[in-house]
Amino acid sequence: MAKKKKAFDKLQWIAAYKSFVLEKGELPATVRELAEMAGQTFPDFKKQFTDLRQLETAVIALYFKEANDLLMADEKFEEYSNKEKQLAFLYVMIEKAGADEVFLQEFQRLKKTDRGFAVRLMRFLNRQELSWAELSWGASTAERVGVNPKQAALIQHALSTLMFFLKDYSEEKQDTDAYIEKTTDVLYRLTDTSTVRSMVDLGKFLFSRRKTTFSWE
């Protein structure tokens, strides 16, 4: 007589999802398939997540949350400049995610074509964490999907870092560190408002002259 396991909490479902992917080399197609392997039921799942998509978002969001919690507990964090906060976040997030590298390799391989994933992650994390995020660019997309553009920018940057990390074959993944340093530096330079203002100014100017200046007619 198999005794039914206690109903999982969110973290346990996340762990179950990772084991499923690692063991089967594929994503669970249905909640029942996952629940069965975990010794859980469909209603157990529903108590924690609405669907598999939400769970898989939570899997990745957890790295963000863990990193954020660690930083909040670090007394140095408040003294950091915005740029240093961003850097520190990326380093800690990659450290957390790095411990799950094998899972993430599989996950990324299987999830490559899911274009909506980043937006779901942004929505999932919206309002919860990362309220310190300061850098923003390309606000329009973020606003369209109803998330805070500053957090969206950070999440995009972090996801790109994660992608880089997964394909980084350098010794001790030192290139990922270089990627974090260099991209953060560039992003902060690019979003230096004075630079942006002059770029916009130039852009407007050129646009207004486009007919006369750049035409041979």
Binding site: L87, Y91, Q174, A178, E181
Partner: protein, 434 residues
Amino acid sequence: MGQDKIAVSKYQRAGKLVNTGAKVGANYMKHYAKKLTGSKATKQDLEEENAKDDYSAFSELKGGPLKVAQMLSMGDQVLPKAYVDQFALAQNQVTPLSLPLVRKTFRKYFEKDPLQLFDEFSTEAVNAASIGQVHKGRKGKQEFAIKIQYPGVADSLQSDLRLIAPIATRFLGLKKKEVAPYFEEVERKLMEETDYRKELQNANEIISGCGNLEGIHFPEFDPQLSTDRIITMTWLKGLSLNDWLATDPSQEDRNRIGQLLWDFYQHQFHLLRVIHADPHPGNFIITPENELGVIDFGCIKHIPSDFYASYEKLMRSGQEQDSPELIDALFALELLHDGDSEKDQATIMGVFGSMFQLVGQPFYSETFDFSNDSFFEKIYSTGMALSKDSSYRNLSARGSRHFIYFNRTYFGLYQLLHQLKANIHTGQWTFIAA
């Protein structure tokens, strides 16, 4: 814009000395000079264009090219000036390591935050290093210099070098096979410089052999807080050589520092047979007591005993043209090749004779005054004349690969002594091992 325009500033001329001198030993640079003499304006333009193109490629790479640039910046005859200018530009473009990365690197290697290991730790770098940066720390009363390497440098250096070698070879019209050993020597040394553990070993090797030299100070290294990418050592108080010179020190003090430098190098070469191969003003610190502090053991050069023996022979017989001993030494040092025509041999002997007389002067007199501008101008003009001499230019690349770092060291030393305007005792070392 002609290439032969004589440089106006004294230091610029002193800079040229480095590679002019290098010609005495290793003619591997001859081919570069060859390219320099076709001094048409359009050619300079073309070089600038090429260098820019290359620069944009290099600037995307990590710290590697900085080291290469330093190496190549030995002078503008090594690479055309435009090329070197672009390399110099690359040097200023690297962003410093952020504090979060410094902390992360510490936690990774030592499982502790810098502030758990030091009572104070500078949040920003206090000095730039070529492939890293230096922070200042304090434990109790003792101050420390902590050198931290940029991420990914070691990994990318090799591929950067693979990129540079063919560009340089093609751009300068060199024969790949002839110059390969020289590129290999540089590549090997540069790779060594990315391993900070090796630097610690190097430092130990030199310091243990020089520890009891009077008036010379070294940092003490902390192996516990050092890894392949971090070096922790005691902070040497004082001013870098350039900053010290800017305080207008007395002739007596400059002579003293010059003598310490000279003796330090002679001691290493003749007795240790291994030399600190980066005599650059940033690598010497003048202590408040006006003594010589030596830092940066990233690049040291071991002198193989057969090279030393031949060099010794050369020094003994160099002033007697055509002596069998001299010819022997020139062959052993690969300055003469078996396949050389008589004309080639005569060219080499001629060049060697005149350059040796000149550059070897300090070794053949009891004292030498390095403030002597005409000495350096003479070397420079002889080098310029040589680079235009067609029989010289047509020779194949030659000279033992060991000359690269040996010459770099000696001419770096000459240059330092010139900057110091030092008048020092030089002669007593010449035949020490004879």
